[in-house]
Symmetry: C2
Subunit: 376 residues, 2 copies
């Protein structure tokens, strides 16, 4: 009954775990931001202002490509984040941006990516692409030297990377590797899709890949971490007008994202509500990550990498991670088995731990419970 | 650079015209509902209630498949509309529903559809499907007898239809044809995608195709006409749990639609705000359509079909429609050349006229200006 491609996409381990999370669970699984720092009152106020200013037209069809109102604000926000100029398409979150890019560019061609990598981000690559080339990650991000060898023989059309606060390892790609990756893209004629959702909340601010080559790198950003994921506002930045027009045409297949949310986000950006929060957000998540790392060390749970920021750390349970996650959930702690983040069959004993949604004061308790499960 | 499939999708004539519509234009082009009947204050109030009840969690990731909160309300709303039971997936408007269904079910297979048909609805069929089988429309909708002949030789996997207030002709499929279509689906093993966005605002309420066979028909609905398109709330109804799970998995590629809008729509449905408006909406659009039809007759502009409800009527300009639309826009009236709605190369002289967004008292003026352009 179903298309072969559709059968490639499985319900992700994150979705499956999150379905079983209750308000009692210590949620070390989700990739959502901390509810404590979602600016609910500012959003509410902005919604009132949008309705007062736009009336019924705040609820018209959004049109493909996004409202100019918001595109303009995103251009200026991105420059604040240090992302070099380019034009903007608004998408329904960064995930939708990845899907539009893959639908535009891939039709069975090979693509490369970090291994492990963000399992849900991979879905459109698996759906539209052909051969997947998983490339090792170390403490400095994607091992670009290994990519080079694979590129020569397999000629990927796209390389998918989360070079900052990598999901699920928490590492950052080094400056040297960033330069090298873009050189490879130029030499071997591939595009880099830079998925950069954590930049707004990352203490460290390495140069975006995009800045090294606006021809070869397509930048994907999001307001999900700095504002709220439920608004579904993401964006693509590119200098390539042809690509932008293609994305816009394909966006007719779902008409982009809510008009009122676009106007609301535009307003919050314009008022400076988003940029004014970034310093505090960076401090907030840095503290949470420090608490997590200290707690993991105290409870002798080994990290696979030293996380550099963002929401995620990868640990080695030294036993079957699926079972550990199952047992932990029974004891009230949600974590994500990381095997589905690996595309070479490894990672069976790894778990992804998130400091996103969990209250700061619950992190240590969650890790303590997890450590007991690991000792069983 | 681009995938072959991506190049199949052109920016639609509606998008292109709408980009040139200003607040001064008499808009007989757009498929938006009338701003006058978008319940702005009720939406604003519901948003406040959602924030008060849900706090930050109103802005979490929505998760694939839609919030149970809203799915439950849609099940009951659909039964109010006379759509027989089934389960619900929430989508980002009906357009997104069509895309998810095509991505799930089509991979180069043939598909059939009305000719003319809704040009934007066709995009996912063109993208994912193979051979397109355009089937003639008459005053009673899709000419099912002609479909039968094509089905025998070309074995489509899906038949796409807008059987009520058809876009762009305004006709309804007769009860007899509805039955016959579903019989053919059973006999020749195809699925029918019933795109039914106008049911909430249609005076006439023929039995949904879905009710004739919940196995063979997949129902697609929307809150865009009864509430507001800018909220991006559509839905799929099916009895097929396997299909629903497949749609949910694919919805991970864009994470469905805004969480706060889902909660807002759920609240408006629960409070009865949507259902209480339907009678007035039906009367409103019926009046607008009557004004349009009378005005067209008075100004001797020939209708291709007698519209039965909804937003659209198809006229025959008896000259090159693209030029007429261009001239009309210069004189302040937007209409859509209908050739792109035809998939057999015909329709060069046809124009789609909409009574959706235009103020009631502007319809006759718009038609009068159009008639002058036609006489040039």
């Amino acid at each position: 009954m179903f298309s072969e491609k559709a059968l490639k996409i499985e319900l992700s381990p994150i979705e499956r775990i999150m379905e079983r999370v209750t308000s009692e669970t210590i949620n070390l699984a989700g990739g959502s931001p901390d509810p404590e720092v979602i600016p609910v009152q500012e959003i509410k106020h902005a919604f009132e202002e949008v309705v007062a200013e736009w009336g019924a037209s705040a609820f018209f069809y959004p049109g493909a490509g996004g409202l100019e109102e918001l595109r303009k604000q995103i251009r200026s926000y991105a420059s604040y984040l240090g992302v070099a100029g380019g034009d903007v398409a608004v998408t329904s979150g960064a995930q939708h941006a990845l899907t539009l890019l893959c639908a535009s560019l891939l039709s069975g061609e090979a693509f490369a990516h970090e291994n492990p990598t963000f399992v849900e981000g991979m879905n459109p690559f698996l759906f539209y692409g052909g051969l997947s080339l998983p490339i090792r990650v170390d403490q400095n991000g994607l091992v670009v030297e290994e990519l080079e060898a694979r590129v020569k023989s397999n000629k990927p059309k796209l390389v998918y990377t989360v070079p900052l606060c990598h999901n699920p390892t928490g590492v950052n790609m080094s400056e040297q590797r960033r330069k090298k990756l873009v050189e490879l893209a130029e030499k071997f004629d591939f595009f880099v899709v830079e998925d950069d959702p954590y930049r707004p909340i990352s203490e460290k601010q390495p140069t975006p890949l995009y800045n090294f080559s606006q021809e070869r790198v397509i930048y994907v950003g999001s307001l999900s971490k700095a504002l709220a994921p439920g608004l579904r506002i993401g964006f693509i930045i590119t200098k390539n007008q042809e690509l932008l027009q293609r994305v816009k045409a394909l966006e007719q297949m779902d008409f982009s994202t809510s008009t009122s949310n676009q106007l609301l986000a535009s307003r919050l950006l314009k008022k400076g509500v988003v940029t004014q929060r970034l310093q505090a957000l960076r401090e907030h998540y840095k503290q949470k990550m420090r608490i997590l790392v200290e707690s993991l060390k105290r409870h002798q749970i080994p990290l696979v990498f030293e996380p550099q920021g963002g929401f995620f750390a990868l640990i080695d349970a030294k036993k079957h991670a699926e079972q550990v996650a199952h047992e932990a959930l029974k004891k009230g702690v949600a974590v994500v088995p990381a095997k589905p983040f690996y595309f070479d069959g490894t990672g069976q004993t790894h778990l992804r731990i998130s400091v996103g949604p969990v209250p700061k004061q619950k992190i240590d308790e969650g890790v303590w419970i997890l450590s007991k499960v690991l000792k069983c």
